[in-house]
């Protein structure tokens, strides 16, 4: 098996390829251990989103997983590119994949999220700036604006964070077409029970300490939401200060931050197969966005956030860098193997763990700022 780690950075896209097992395989240019790094592709263009379509299209079940990239040139604007050969060649939709309809008066700034709907082959969700949700039914070739969220009366009050306004999380339900959940920064969590026609804020229990009312209906700055392996009913959220779990599909949230060195951070990852297991990468505080004491660490829970343990092996001390919201990913490698955990830093390092976060290996360094990481395994 080959593991492909797709790394989107401020100045291009790189792909790390390896056996998936640490310390084995052939050395390649820029590689550490068994990993070979190729790239940059889209040199000097920002890659803020990468999507991997693992569900095979019915018409071509043997095809390689499709990769999608949210690409943005400072000069020439944003677009979505796609690759059907695992990143070797890329193509675009001539007219653009994500285009605001004329009546909106809006223009796409950036694609922040490209999320496969694994239960529905060909369906891809995009979260974009300005704050908007898009659905593709053709594997990312074209996307349609979700009008329910765009026309939401709260939208004028969804303010951008430092990085820009973003719908960054899209949660679907494999058994229920009508059930959708998104998270945005800022704005918070919104849920739909009618397939996206209407949306209701779903932030009960999540703090917005930076607002006059610290418990508003909406306006929270949720950084990332992850779904527990047990299913859509259990969710984890890393907030702008605050780490939470919901046991009722997002209707209410309770703090699980006790035991962490800080409740600030951007990353939230959940195990694809083992319920109760999730990972965060704490930062010291809003006003001190660096690892606590300069020690970059991943923290893992095995019990849904009741307790946390620190992963230190292979991660650096004297590290004053940051792992951004989507610069972390869990790569499902099947039922027989632990998933691969990958994190990338703003100083261009990528670390992977093949043992669920016990130990990490540095597989790339000196890349541009890492904005997003996704991965996939192929035979």
């Amino acid at each position: 098996m080959t593991t492909h780690i797709i790394i989107g950075t401020r100045k291009g896209l790189f792909v790390a390829r390896g056996s998936g097992a640490q310390g084995s395989g052939a050395q390649g240019s820029g590689a550490s251990g068994g990993w070979a790094i190729s790239g940059p592709m889209f040199l000097m263009q920002e890659i803020a989103a990468v999507g991997v379509l693992t569900a095979p299209a019915p018409a071509s079940p043997e095809a390689a997983p499709r990769l999608l990239a949210g690409v943005r040139s400072e000069h020439w604007g944003p677009t979505v590119a796609r690759s059907d050969d695992l990143g070797q060649t890329w193509e675009e939709t001539d007219q653009g994949s994500v285009r605001f309809p004329g009546d909106t008066g809006a223009a796409l700034t950036r694609v922040w999220q490209l999320q496969e709907d694994p239960a529905r082959p060909g369906v891809v969700w995009a979260g974009c700036e300005p704050t908007s949700l898009w659905r593709s039914g053709d594997g990312g070739v074209t996307f349609e604006l979700n009008r329910g969220l765009w026309d939401h009366p709260h939208r004028p009050q969804w303010a951008p964070g430092f990085g820009g306004a973003a719908v960054h999380t899209v949660v679907t339900d494999p058994g229920d077409d009508a059930s959708l959940l998104v998270a945005m920064s800022t704005g918070g969590v919104y849920a739909s029970g009618d397939g996206g026609a209407s949306w209701q804020p779903s932030n009960t229990g999540i703090s917005a300490y930076f607002l006059p009312d610290p418990a508003p209906e909406f306006g929270q700055c949720v950084h990332k939401v992850a779904v527990d392996a047990a299913g859509r009913g259990t969710l984890y959220a890393q907030n702008h200060h605050g780490v939470y779990r919901s046991d009722d599909a997002g209707r209410s949230w309770t703090s699980i931050a006790a035991g962490l060195p800080s409740d600030f951070g951007f990353v939230m990852l959940a195990h694809p197969r083992r319920p109760g297991t999730a990972w965060v990468v704490p930062l010291e505080a809003d006003a001190r966005r660096v690892p606590p004491k300069g020690r970059l660490r991943v923290h893992r829970t095995r019990d849904g956030g009741e307790t946390w343990s620190e992963s230190a092996s292979g991660l650096p001390d004297d590290a004053w860098t940051v792992v951004l919201r989507d610069a972390a990913s869990v790569v499902d490698r099947g039922a027989g193997q632990p998933p691969l955990i990958a994190i990338g830093t703003r100083d261009g390092c990528v670390y992977v763990s093949a043992d669920e976060g016990e130990t990490f290996e540095l597989i790339a360094k000196h890349l541009p700022d890492v904005l997003t990481i996704r991965g996939v395994e192929t035979a």
Binding site: H75, W76, G77, R99
Partner: protein, 95 residues
């Protein structure tokens, strides 16, 4: 001379049939907007590199008619005439 000549940066040649210089019949275009419409219809990827979906010039794309930056003239409504050379240049930006 009956054409307007559009010069593109080399980075955009792949989006415009491999060429950086395009001749457009001046009888069909009276403004920069119409010139960009004409080439954008033929080369849609080029069109969206230069302007967003609202029709506005992207912020770091500069267009000159002769020596004049259209932002300091009439914007995309700046007139083009037979013999004009219209130059597209990326502005100095980024880090």
């Amino acid at each position: 001379v009956s054409n307007v000549e559009l010069h593109l940066p080399g980075l955009l040649a792949d989006d415009a049939g491999g060429r950086t210089v395009h001749q457009v019949d001046a009888a069909t275009v009276a403004t920069v907007a119409e010139l960009l419409d004409a080439v954008g219809t033929h080369w849609p990827r080029l069109g969206r590199r230069l302007r967003d979906e609202t029709g506005h010039l992207r912020p770091y794309v500069n267009v000159y008619v002769g020596p004049d930056d259209v932002r300091w003239a009439d914007g995309l409504a700046t007139a083009v005439r037979p013999g004009d050379v219209v130059l597209v240049l990326p502005s100095v930006a980024g880090g």
